[in-house]
Symmetry: C2
Subunit: 204 residues, 2 copies
DNA sequence: CTGCTTATAAGGCAAGCGTCTAATAAGGAG
DNA sequence: CTCCTTATTAGACGCTTGCCTTATAAGCAG
């Protein structure tokens, strides 16, 4: 083929869509390349736009990272609620749906799970990231508490705060395990283990 | 003061000590600055040596990172064993000592805990890091299994593999929680929760 | 004390990054 | 159809990084 005159593809997109593009590209970059490989220029490359555009939508790459984190948290919480709350009348089932959602491809898939690790890391050294992390944790725990509150109490129940903390820890721990090797601990096993932990902690 | 003639501090150290210096500086850098801030030059700055020295001891910065990971795993496993195995005769106590060691300043202190996060991240995208991670996980789980095997069995015990997986998840999850905010979940509470989980999973 | 090994420092180089600025064209308003 | 806004590209600049090469001196062998 004759070489096209290298016309720059300059389709103009709606600002909202472009922002979303860049956020999505950021997540993908973080998951694929880790914190070191995720540069502003690389994100733009992945999004298929010139490197100047980042600055047009975000103050700097760091800011894009923070907004990506915020949006990811928001989306995940919304989806977890949507998955579990409709079953609030049957607490055991609601909890199960919650576990399934947590380990779904949307939130624990290979294209996203690596990004959380980077955000956690940022949360420790950067105050603005820590705020997002804290808020997310509190809200996630509150949701969990709501689901668990309706379960019949065991005779030998732990204090509620302890039980919630432990269930939350099991979730995070298995999530990490799944992150490190979905071969060794596949999705179904993670969910089954969560169910087992819930049964053991709250009621038989 | 009159400016000293800028004599380069050129104390010659034993190769082993220098390597150890660089490894220690790497851990510190990772914990303080995260993956992005941990460059070869920054590590050398932290270690108080010129940037050329890194290449003299390691093939490249990446290689230093990998060796640091290996050594950290080795050290932690050795110390966990040393903390728990002397009490193998009293399994409940041995397990407790294990938990205390996991959350000790040596392995969960602010100067080191951030490094693990980076290594986990690397373990996903880089095969050589994954090998170290897998080996560490297997050995850690084997140690845990050894400690737990002596506990009296509950009537309603879970399959051993499940119980181990859950206890391991609780450890990792609480460790993350502690990492994200040692304010919200202080060390003593983490240890107490681990003890509670072990009691609930294995015997009363 | 002299000399050889090698640990250490320092400089140069290309590549990549973040930031800023200027030029261009897309697409709706009139 | 024309103009004006602004989304988009592209280039320049300074800085830092990783890699490599060369020069220096520390400390042991003789």
């Amino acid at each position: 083929m004759a070489s096209a005159p290298a016309v720059p593809r300059r389709r103009r997109a709606s600002p909202l869509a472009r922002r979303a593009d860049l956020v999505a590209a950021t997540v993908s970059c973080l998951a694929r390349l880790g914190a070191r490989g995720t540069t502003g220029r690389e994100i733009c490359r992945q999004a298929g736009v010139s490197h100047g555009l980042l600055r047009h939508y975000f103050r700097n790459p760091d800011n894009l990272l923070l907004e990506t984190y915020e949006q990811l948290c928001e989306d995940m919480l919304a989806q977890l609620e949507a998955a579990a709350l409709p079953f609030a009348a049957e607490p055991r089932e609601a909890l199960h749906r919650y576990f399934v959602a947590v380990f779904s491809d949307d939130w624990a898939g290979p294209d996203i799970i690596g990004a959380w690790m980077v955000f956690w890391q940022q949360a420790r050294s950067r105050a603005d990231f820590a705020v997002v992390s804290d808020s997310f944790n509190m809200r996630q725990r509150a949701l969990l508490e709501r689901l668990v509150a309706r379960l019949p109490a065991r005779a030998d129940a732990l204090p509620m705060a302890d039980a919630i903390a432990l269930l939350s820890a099991v979730l995070d721990g298995l999530w990490i395990e799944f992150y490190l090797s979905d071969q060794r601990t596949p999705r179904e096993r993670c969910i089954a283990l969560c169910d087992a932990a819930a049964r053991r902690l709250f009621s038989d």
